[in-house]
Subunit: 138 residues, 4 copies
């Protein structure tokens, strides 16, 4: 089961080549992740500034097939996958709303759960496990 997030390309997202600046596509994907957490009932302000637990990204990857332009309506599909007790990965496919069959970009991000100060690993919270599980149901 996937989560879908819709995002219009803003003028600020573009660069002087007239298309979306490459690194911004990863930010679009992160917005989809945030929207998915919100839909699950997670408070983003608390989630991202906790002194007890952080889930930083340790790896990100992005492929581009087509340029994206200002005003384009993107649909981002998000599919998380659990890796043990303290890690997960998220796969993203970015589609243009007008041409839904073909993806224009694909990305993935790998997240590890740590203590923000010591940076040592810790297990994901029950809430995050439930969020991950919610994608496994068919």
């Amino acid at each position: 089961m996937s989560f879908y997030y819709t995002r219009i390309v803003h003028f600020q997202d573009t660069d002087a080549a007239g298309v979306v600046y490459f690194a911004n596509v990863l930010a679009f994907c992160h917005e989809a992740y945030e929207a998915s957490l919100v839909k699950f009932g997670i408070n983003l302000k608390v989630f991202f500034s906790s002194q007890e637990v952080a889930i930083p990204i340790i790896h990100a990857d992005v492929y581009f097939r087509c340029p994206m332009f200002c005003g384009d309506e993107l649909i981002i599909e998000l599919m998380p996958k659990s890796w043990g007790d303290d890690e997960f990965e998220i796969f993203y496919q970015v589609f243009l709303n007008e041409v839904e069959e073909k993806w224009v970009a694909r990305a993935n991000t790998k997240h590890v759960c740590i203590h923000p100060r010591s940076r040592s690993r810790q297990n994901l919270s029950d809430e995050m496990r439930r969020w991950l599980l919610s994608f496994e149901s068919s």
Copy 2:
């Protein structure tokens, strides 16, 4: 008559002080401007990369009353005002959806219509005049 744009604060919009980075609020306002143009039927890709006409911002101003946090739902009110044939100004009020009575930020941007190469002034297109007029009806 005003146009209203809703915008969730993303993680990327924030800074290490835990709140929205000040200059990003002007970008939120510009998004409201873009959304208003789209609703009026204007193609943003063509509008912002035209070789014939550009409407750059020559002045921007922003006041902050309250901090904005990741996950906050903002409502941005946009009210343009015409200044002669080649200029207009846009006033913005940013509200938190939860506390609608009080604005958290106010901004305005002044736009001048020019030839992109010569940078000399030219009159606004009929389309932009109609966009401006659409806000004057009661």
Copy 3:
């Protein structure tokens, strides 16, 4: 006495109109502020994430005279001005290195010293007073 900061325009700073996105110029000015604090011996990591004191911007203003392009070398002049015990303002002039006589953008930011949690005002630290004073010597 002024502080000068040099900044190359990056590709990411530009938009599909081929020039620097307007709100990014305020971010360039904030970089000049940061560079000036660093030169004065202030640790930015501590300064911007303190739980005891914050100095948020409550107003920002920016004028644009000329477009800035990718690769342009900007020189930003910074001149702070004290306003009582808990406020200050910074004036910025942005010059193109090649044509130094004329500014291409002018900005100012107004900063107020507060407690980050209560958001009530407090006096600026001795360190920040000394930073402000350092600009008054001729």
Copy 4:
């Protein structure tokens, strides 16, 4: 032979978790690429907005080992590698100036030379071939 680019972490680069927002590290790497082109004598304004040739990124990858904070001085090592006549890849290592031995992030970007309108492939210019060759000399 490598190219080295020094970059201070700005306040705007950070997020509410107190560290550099992940996708911004790819933008730092792109800045290193731009600085390397400038040093080679390439005009960035012409390079990035040409109507005849574009070299978009088709893949990007980034690993994070340590968080980066506001004020950190980063040193980015850039090593391009040629792939035939119309492609190249760039490898980046990001170091903290204070602890130079260990990288804090590693990235790579893959670039393909195309016609901006048709998006069909074309050979890299002689200038870009010379830029690539300049890294192969020992």
